[in-house]
């Protein structure tokens, strides 16, 4: 069994491109070109140069000494929080903006939840001088105000999604509608490994730099390029896809995907898709998603705007059903506690999304000599208000 995508755009049974005909030319153009473009030496060169000089890659693989002592295991943090704009999201937007330019697009749209992808998209649009429209749920606009301000500074137009739960899912709907209405000049930069094929694969490949670096960085530090565990949170699944990518086929490396349990997996306020979801279609992809018996998509909940999504990418649906990855659901409270713990013990304020991954340390015992790489997908600057309120600091 492979955990990568097949020629038809599926991970096992999941994936595909369930899109209205209006999107067919766009998606098809991308599908036919993405691998070819990504393989071009000039593309590679430009992509890598920007990752190095603009994004600040490689992001460090930091041995968290005090955390390791506390949890009696070897904890490494993959520091995507140090990337330009503060999260892993920019790896993908750099890739996609170069792709969009090569496809002759000059208008960029994106959806955003936590605002990190929106900021990362606004950033690369500014860098390339392209028009940028970001759709963001009205609720997320309120709870991630700093990122809204950043997008404005960068010259992007932020349009509120007013329908449904007014969060990430609805922003994605709005972005798709925009794309339908602007099929020729517009590229849609999806922010995670979701959406119709080839997006999940393309985004995973752009994020794969994360595990590529983990391999050589770990080799330098531990003499092996294989961690025992890789832990990452899953909203749509892009940071996890990046952190897992080069380990997918190597079962010595255990993969742990962390979902948001919100107020408890079965509380009715949760975003733990693997437990609560069933196979279905969301945003053009067949995958696991939270839905009613009738196939209506459920409004998810998480304290973290970036995990507040009722689906997961098809790669993760496959990792879950095949048992290749262990899925753990973490509540708001546990995530917040682990986030604050990282602040106090290592001097790093994590994004609340990343705090979910960190909270696995509270719940799972790792052997003392195990190498546990946790994807620190983003920094918590955007979440200060939520933390401060939660802890009444």
């Amino acid at each position: 069994m492979t955990y990568n995508i097949d020629e038809k755009g599926y991970y096992g049974e999941f994936g595909g491109a369930f899109i209205p005909e209006m999107l067919y030319p766009n998606v098809e153009e991308l599908r036919q070109n993405y691998l070819k473009v990504m393989a071009e030496p000039e593309f590679q060169e430009e992509f890598n140069a920007l990752l190095k000089d603009y994004v600040g890659r490689p992001s460090p693989l930091y041995f968290a000494k005090r955390l390791s002592e506390k949890y009696h295991t070897k904890i490494y943090l993959k520091r995507e929080d140090l990337n330009h704009t503060g999260a892993h999201k920019i790896n993908n937007t750099i890739g996609q903006i170069l792709m969009a330019k090569r496809l002759g697009k000059h208008r960029i749209i994106a959806e955003t939840g936590a605002g990190q992808h929106g900021v990362a998209t606004a950033t690369v649009c500014a860098l390339m001088g392209l028009e940028c429209i970001v759709y963001m749920g009205e609720i997320d606009i309120a709870r991630q105000a700093p990122n809204v301000a950043r997008m404005k500074m960068l010259g992007a137009k932020v349009l509120p999604a007013l329908s449904g739960s007014r969060t990430l899912k609805d922003a994605t709907n709005e972005a798709i509608r925009d794309w339908i209405n602007n099929p020729v000049d517009t590229h849609y930069i999806i922010g995670s490994v979701v959406g119709p094929h080839p997006y999940p694969d393309m985004v995973a490949r752009f994020q794969a730099i994360v595990s590529e670096e983990i391999q050589w960085q770990l080799k330098e530090k531990e003499g092996t390029s294989k961690p025992d565990y890789v832990v990452a949170c899953v909203g749509g699944g892009s940071n996890a896809a990046g952190a897992f990518y080069h380990f997918l086929e190597d079962k010595d490396v255990k993969l742990i995907a962390v979902e948001a349990a919100g107020k408890g997996v079965h509380s009715g306020e949760s975003a733990a898709t693997s437990v609560l979801g069933k196979e279905g279609i969301i945003h053009g992809s067949k995958t696991l998603l939270m839905q009613t018996q009738d196939g209506q998509i459920t409004e998810p909940y998480s304290i973290s705007a970036g995990l507040d999504y009722p689906g997961v990418g098809p790669m993760h649906a496959h990792l879950y059903t095949s048992g290749r990855a262990e899925f753990i659901a973490i509540t708001d409270d546990d995530a917040m506690t682990s986030g604050l713990e990282l602040c106090k013990m290592e001097g790093i304020i994590p994004a609340i999304e990343s705090s979910h991954a960190l909270a696995v340390l509270q719940h799972k015992k790792f052997p003392p000599d195990a190498i546990v790489v946790v994807s620190l997908s983003g920094r918590g600057d955007k979440d200060l208000e939520t933390y401060i309120k939660h802890f009444k600091l």
Binding site: F18, I19, P20, P183, G280, I281, D294
Partner: protein, 256 residues
């Protein structure tokens, strides 16, 4: 013969009016009544919208009607229940238009079977691509004599149109412009050029134009080039402001 094919054959003047409405909107239990009213007033084909939480190909009007319909309590089960005696009173072709996920959850086979039982003639599933249909679901649809109508848009290549035509068994849903529903009104040169281009392709399947048709003028423009035209958002808006009492007036305003 499927009622859709029959209707398209017998309708000779090529000005077939088809109306879309969202089942369960504005009130939960008016589905059958709306259908009857529409037929009575001269509508020749109906798309019954199965509401969906995330109707990503629809504009604000149909989105809002779907949200309201779901709030009112509409479900797939209930819709079939509401339609169970519909063929006692209605003879024009009836199509269910809905997104793929609710159908998938119901079971594609079960859904087609149920459609056949209650007298639904066809489906329009905007997010079920023709290729996936062709590979996985064609046999099921055909077994139950359910016609699946596919969309084409101004961006669809000639090659793909020919392919879609070869798969289609009833009509081709010609999206007037690349856009979500309810986006524009009235047609300019770009669109009429596109209508002409498609007409000149002499496809096997007749075309029905949808998206952006809202009044007598745009209906007439569309049906100059195609067999018929579908009105959705404009009808939903009329239901919203004037209730079902006005259905006759609305249809007359389009036809005359």
């Amino acid at each position: 013969m499927n009622r859709i094919n029959q209707k398209l054959q017998e309708n000779s003047n090529g000005k077939l009016l088809s109306i879309y409405f969202t089942a369960g909107y504005p009130n939960l239990n008016e589905t059958a009544g709306i259908i009857q009213d529409l037929e009575k007033n001269g509508v020749e084909m109906i798309e019954i919208g199965l509401p969906f939480s995330d109707p990503l190909a629809d504009g604000p009007t149909i989105q809002a009607s779907s949200t309201q319909a779901l709030k009112n309590g509409m479900t797939t089960e209930l819709l079939f229940e509401q339609l169970k005696d519909i063929r006692k009173t209605v003879t024009i072709p009836l199509i269910i238009m809905g997104y793929f996920n609710p159908i998938l959850q119901y079971g594609v086979e079960a859904f087609c079977k149920k459609c056949a039982e209650v007298g639904i003639d066809g489906l329009i599933i905007p997010d079920l691509p023709v290729d996936v249909y062709n590979q996985h679901y064609k046999a099921i649809f055909e077994q139950h004599d359910i016609i699946n109508a596919f969309l084409i848009t101004p961006q669809t290549s000639e090659e793909r149109i020919r392919f879609i035509d070869s798969i289609s068994k009833g009509f081709i849903y010609m999206v007037s412009s690349a856009s979500v529903t309810g986006s524009s009104s009235g047609f300019g040169d770009t669109q009429t050029d596109y209508f002409k281009r498609i007409a000149d392709m002499n496809l096997n399947n007749p075309q029905i134009i949808g998206f952006g048709i809202s009044d007598h003028e745009s209906f007439t423009q569309a049906t100059t080039y195609a067999k018929g035209a579908i009105i959705g958002s404009a009808f939903i808006k009329d239901l919203t402001s004037n209730t079902t009492d006005n259905i006759g007036n609305f249809v007359r305003s389009i036809l005359n």
